[in-house]
């Protein structure tokens, strides 16, 4: 049914800038910027993955020379044997790259940029040049972070959470330059995120197409909108804290230095006040895109649209008042601990709403298992495990036992890999045709999904067992502890699964890169979807629509009895539809 949209989709060659530099490098086109983010963050995802493999080698086979580790310098791994200080750097940088430079830009940088204008019917972002600045700032931040590996003493050694005073003094951690680079990079990244967020917020509020009222927006746009608000308000706190940490290291201030009256816990409060909203930045867009994909795959309207929106808002709001759950045993006031426990547990409620609405959407649907749908269902099933393990930790007395153990590591990876990354694998495949005009291979996509699903669970599920046994995080050599020695076979099993998991990702890389050149040419609307983006040719031209599309309904009208097909694009005018009033005020 693409014909209905044809009047709006007028490909216009020569409209955009033509020189290579203006078109692909310093582009202000939101789609190109999204694609730039995509390549850069996939690179960092790969970097994070390679670091993870070294972590797993050391944990599975402590003290043995790592295959290929010989190329590392003496200061990191003499003869391929990982040193304790290098191990900490691996963990620190793995967490940092994955959170700040892979998942966050993949979700927000790529999909907020790419999808928001396409899905609300705008020509571009409200401030295209600020958008470009946001990308280049993020790129710069990534390079600064990466540079840490090449300076004397290497990158930071304080964990991705950078707890002061360890991070605040070279005397304690043993690195100065690398630590300074970490702070600088985070400040620049903060700036980039703020610029990005203000763009997304303004665009969504002001630049919606006629008829695209608030409650006709796809849930992905809703999620990205709320995420942008979180980013806008959370990142400056991290920047501020990062600056204070930087000053503690460089100009001798004493914010986090107890000897001079500073407070070690202040860092933790600031970091987690940012940090918890941050983890919702890492999941909400994934939830939004999964909602879109599940509705499409089920050929059924999303179940409980309004409660889904409400749940997103509730999660975001509650996200601000739970940060203390990372600090239950930090020496924080125990009464505060009780408060934070209650607010943390409360988040289970909106999360339950989301989970059950996804299930409600699939119920009595007509499920099409294309690759995005498989990944989306994988997301729901895995995110639930991660979310439920959060309940153990939210219970304060229990957290006293499992805090900083592998139980937490399992939680992290169930929500971030099982959650965000599965959603992303779905999203990559789903919007690939819109980005590149070709399809990714269906067959290899399915193989990749199943193998990833298998090895991913084999890698991370046993970590719960380790955690229950009391195995601490960030331990270079678990065999130091007698009570952990018996767990070594399990550690080896995890490591081997992790290597296989990594190897599986090669399928994705080949599929992704290969399809750029030899993928099947994409039909106009490959997933029979209702979204505005599919009224445009693949890939969409610069400026998107010649004339703004008019929107007549919400994005989830699948299997509507009004039409014969099982989908009904947002732009298709039925005889019963009225023209939208010109400028809908906020909130309809």
């Amino acid at each position: 049914m693409t014909t209905a949209a044809a009047p709006h989709a007028m490909p216009h060659a020569g409209h955009g800038p033509t020189s290579f530099w203006r078109k692909y490098i310093f582009s202000t086109d939101h789609k190109i910027i999204g694609i730039q983010f995509l390549f850069v963050s996939l690179f960092f995802l790969l970097v994070g993955g390679i670091l993870a493999m070294q972590i797993r080698w050391q944990l599975g086979f402590p003290g043995r020379p790592m295959p290929g580790g010989g190329i590392l310098p003496e200061t990191m791994a003499p003869g391929g044997v990982i040193l304790p200080e290098y191990y900490i750097q691996l963990v620190t940088m793995h967490g940092t790259f994955m959170v700040f430079f892979a998942i966050m830009p993949l979700l927000v940088g790529v999909y907020a940029n790419f999808l928001i204008p396409l899905k609300i019917g705008a020509h571009d972002m409200a401030f295209p040049r600020i958008n470009m600045a946001s990308f280049w700032a993020a790129f710069l931040a990534g390079m600064i972070m990466l540079a840490g590996f090449f300076v004397p003493d290497g990158p930071s050694r304080a964990g991705w959470t950078m707890y002061a005073p360890l991070s605040a003094s070279a005397e304690y951690s043993g690195v100065s330059t690398g630590q300074i680079l970490w702070c600088l990079s985070i400040v620049v990244l903060g700036l980039s995120s703020i610029l990005g967020s203000l763009n997304y917020i303004t665009t969504i509020i002001n630049n919606r197409a006629p008829g695209m009222t608030w409650f006709r927006m796809p849930l992905s746009v809703w999620a990205l909108f709320i995420t942008a608000i979180l980013g806008l308000l959370a990142l400056p706190v991290l920047s501020g804290a990062g600056i204070m940490l930087l000053f503690d290291q460089t100009i001798g201030t004493h914010f986090f230095d107890p000897a001079a009256g500073g407070q070690a816990l202040l860092w933790q409060h600031l970091f987690w006040f940012f940090g918890h909203p941050e983890v919702y930045i890492l999941i909400l867009p994934a939830m939004g895109m999964v909602s879109d994909i599940i509705s499409n795959g089920s050929r059924k309207p999303i179940f409980g649209y309004h409660s889904m929106v409400f749940a997103i808002v509730a999660i975001a709001f509650l996200g601000w008042i739970v940060w203390g759950h990372h600090m239950f045993v930090s020496g924080m006031n125990p009464t505060l601990g009780s408060t934070f426990m209650v607010s943390t547990l409360a988040i289970a409620v909106p999360s339950a709403i989301k989970t059950f609405n996804w299930m409600g959407t699939m119920w009595r649907g007509n499920l099409r298992f294309h690759v995005p749908m498989m990944n989306a269902v994988g997301f729901v099933s895995m995110f639930v495990i991660g979310g439920l393990s959060g309940i153990y930790m939210a219970a304060t007395p229990l957290d006293m036992f499992i805090h900083d153990t592998y139980f937490i590591v399992a939680h992290i990876h169930y929500v971030l890999f099982g959650g965000s990354l599965f959603a992303l694998f779905g999203a990559f495949t789903y919007w690939y045709p819109k980005m590149f005009g070709r399809m990714m291979s269906e067959r290899w996509g399915k193989i990749h999904f199943w193998l990833t699903f298998l090895f991913y669970n084999a890698t991370f599920f046993p970590m719960h067992i380790l955690g229950m046994g009391g195995a601490m995080r960030r331990i270079y050599d678990p065999t130091q502890y007698d009570f952990l020695k018996p767990y070594q076979p399990l550690n080896q099993f995890i490591s081997i699964s992790a290597f296989l998991l990594f190897a599986t990702q090669i399928i994705f890389i080949v599929n992704f890169v290969g399809s750029l050149f030899r993928g099947k040419k994409a039909p106009a609307n490959p997933w029979d979807d209702n979204g505005l983006e599919w009224t445009l040719p693949n890939p969409a031209p610069h400026g998107n629509w010649e004339k703004p599309p008019t929107v007549y309904r919400g994005p989830y009208e699948f299997s509507s009895p009004e039409v014969a097909e099982d989908y009904l694009p947002q732009t298709r005018k039925l005889p019963t539809d009225r023209e939208p009033v010109l400028a809908p005020a906020a909130g309809d």
């Binding site: 304790p84 999303i302 125990p334 007395p397």
Partner: protein, 223 residues
């Protein structure tokens, strides 16, 4: 290898493990409902030619149900765990007869100060040993935690006790061992490159053995 929680060696173990089991049951039910539902839907509703999905935008009764049930569950759960939390970490939770032990953490060792014969810290007969925590069984122990440099964390899995040791703060934590035996005290907060080997032996004695150990060590150290 152990597939379950470690040995229960302190009074905290019962409530904490009980809570674990309770949450395991709650989340287990939620888990089974979700996963079984998903699998069922995947098979039951997979695409078949000529069928159309059931067109609905939702159902308010269903929303109310799956909002209320989790809400009530977490409220109850919160009440229970807060009850134990107050007993374990609450501000007045340390029993008055608790036996004080000073623990000073520094990169990368534990300095453990015993009160000596008079049972009070900060007096002349105190003595300090490195990386050895000896405690009597069946008696509440109050550890005074302090740090020289960075944040460390006092963690003994079998005793189910953990408390961060923060420089500039004077933190008190308590526990009461219920069985004798040898355990390990691990540092569970990243504190530098030696973090992984910052551990100490924990020995839980009978009171008589503890007194004997104390006497022997004090003479050895005091001379």
């Amino acid at each position: 290898m152990h597939w379950w929680l470690p040995l229960q060696a302190s009074t905290f173990a019962k409530p904490i493990d009980g809570l674990f089991v309770a949450i395991l049951i709650i989340t287990g039910i939620a888990f089974v409902v979700v996963e079984a539902g998903l699998i069922w839907f995947i098979f039951r509703y997979r695409q078949r030619p000529g069928r159309k999905a059931y067109y609905t935008h939702g159902n308010n009764r269903a929303e109310v149900i799956w909002t209320t049930i989790p809400a009530v569950t977490v409220v109850v759960l919160g009440l229970f765990s807060n009850h134990y939390w107050v007993q374990i970490k609450g501000r007045n939770s340390v029993p008055p007869n608790a036996y004080p032990i000073g623990i000073h953490a520094k990169q990368f060792e534990w300095r453990i100060t015993y009160p000596g014969a008079d049972g009070k810290l900060g007096t002349a007969d105190d003595f300090t040993v490195r990386n050895q925590l000896h405690v009597p069984v069946g008696r509440p122990i109050e550890v005074h935690l302090s740090s020289e440099d960075v944040i460390h964390s006092f963690f003994v899995p079998q005793l189910r006790v953990r408390q961060d040791v923060v420089p500039g703060m004077d933190i008190k934590a308590w526990f009461q061992a219920t069985v004798t035996g040898d355990f390990e005290l691990g540092c569970s907060q990243l504190c530098g490159m030696g973090h992984y080997k910052m551990r100490a032996r924990v020995t839980v004695h009978t009171q008589a053995d503890f007194d004997a150990w104390m006497k022997a060590t004090q003479e050895g150290a005091g001379s």
